[in-house]
Symmetry: C2
Subunit: 222 residues, 2 copies
DNA sequence: TCAAAAGTGTTTGCTATACACCCATGA
DNA sequence: TCATGGGTGTATAGCAAACACTTTTGA
């Protein structure tokens, strides 16, 4: 079977930068390529857009296949179409990024399955194609959005403490944050609420557990 | 001549939202479609990405053909890939937006040539495909960027007065701004400089002419 | 009782906003 | 001389940043 057109068509893929917080680090999911080109190198998960599938659905499909999660935050990042970015044929890729709560991971990505791995954004391997650039832009976007939106809440499990939320901010911003100012600001947004429950662990005062009021909503700040 | 692939490929186009300020309004360039589908309706300028042409080059080519300008501000907006957005075949479009200084326009777009026209963003006709949505997102992006960048300078001719710059802000924001505060803020950015020249027109004090110091630079504010 | 993280307010500086009058010109 | 838009400074309010001690618990 083959498909013919009157003029040349590029191939279109989606690639997805999957971020999560694990082991006190901001991490991304990478796949070891099984085939040429770049066989054996690490790359972003992704694949061809099906002819009867919307772009975002394609990205969600990849995400589900790699991590077993759905219903997480997913946003289109940018479209990369340099003529020579793939040596095989003209390939245009629509890149997305996803934020996955640390407790939601399953199967492939959760286990350290062969050929799939989580990498700290600070200790990335060489990447195939232009994926280093894509990942860099995704990281930039994430840092920028932290400043004017509640996007970081997307990393949190259903219930969490303010200290762990603060830690997420510190990891992404790469700088320490003042505890009192942080709590004041976060609570003033009215986007999270006290569950009434407490989390006690270790020889210290128990921490209140909060939840995000509307998970689907990324509020804009200021 | 025909081109064959082992699996179906979508077509890829670029569409471009060309903004300018004319007649004291924020305007966009539209083209009247000469062919089906949507024959006779207004649409964004755009066309198929050539197989040996980068995405941004494709958009610049469209821009040049329609307005005769090059070297203006152009930014990728978003990629639209709903399965049924084009009734002919699967078409994925990478949308860009451009900001053109009001004095740079030539030929086709400058004249009111048949089938090409400038429309106020407040008085748009029905648009073909999903172009109304694309245009809406471009407009949103422009408004948002006004707040945290010097993107509006891209609308200005080489030399301009602070009053005309203020007017551009007011048109895009759809609200009046305070003259003293505006001047204070703009000048504090150190992105424009006094040319030493004056513009005299009408029975009132002449206005100082300014120029953008580095036209290629969109400074981010705050 | 000690060590460890949770929780809590006030002061200070800076930035954004509100606001009104004189200036230079052409007709 | 008058009508028109160009040009200028200060006072105030609101927000962001700095900063230190008390509380609760488990061992």
């Amino acid at each position: 079977m083959s498909y013919s057109y009157d003029y040349p068509h590029p191939a279109v893929t989606t690639d997805i930068v999957i971020f999560t917080i694990r082991q006190d680090e901001l991490m991304v999911l990478l796949i070891k390529r099984a085939n040429e080109p770049f066989k054996g190198e690490w790359a972003l998960p992704g694949g061809f857009v099906q002819i009867d599938e919307d772009l975002e659905n394609g990205a969600r499909r990849e995400l589900l296949e790699e991590t077993g999660v759905k219903d997480v935050y997913l946003e289109q990042l940018y479209t990369y179409g340099a003529v020579d970015r793939d040596p095989r044929e003209r390939v245009i890729t629509v890149a997305y990024y996803a934020l996955v709560p640390s407790d939601k991971m399953e199967i492939r990505a959760a286990s350290d399955a062969e050929g799939v791995g989580w990498f700290s954004v600070d200790k990335l391997p060489e990447l195939a194609f232009d994926h280093a650039r894509i990942l860099g832009m995704a990281h930039e976007r994430l840092v920028a959005k932290l400043d004017y939106s509640t996007i970081a809440f997307q990393f949190m499990p259903d219930e969490f403490t303010l200290s762990t939320l603060q830690r997420v901010y510190e990891l992404i911003l790469r700088e320490e944050v003042d505890k009192r100012n942080f709590r004041k600001k976060i609570l003033s947004l009215k986007q999270i609420e006290d569950t009434g429950k407490e989390q006690r662990e270790g020889p210290h005062r128990p921490a209140k557990l909060y939840r995000v009021i509307d998970r689907s909503r990324i509020a804009f700040i200021k």
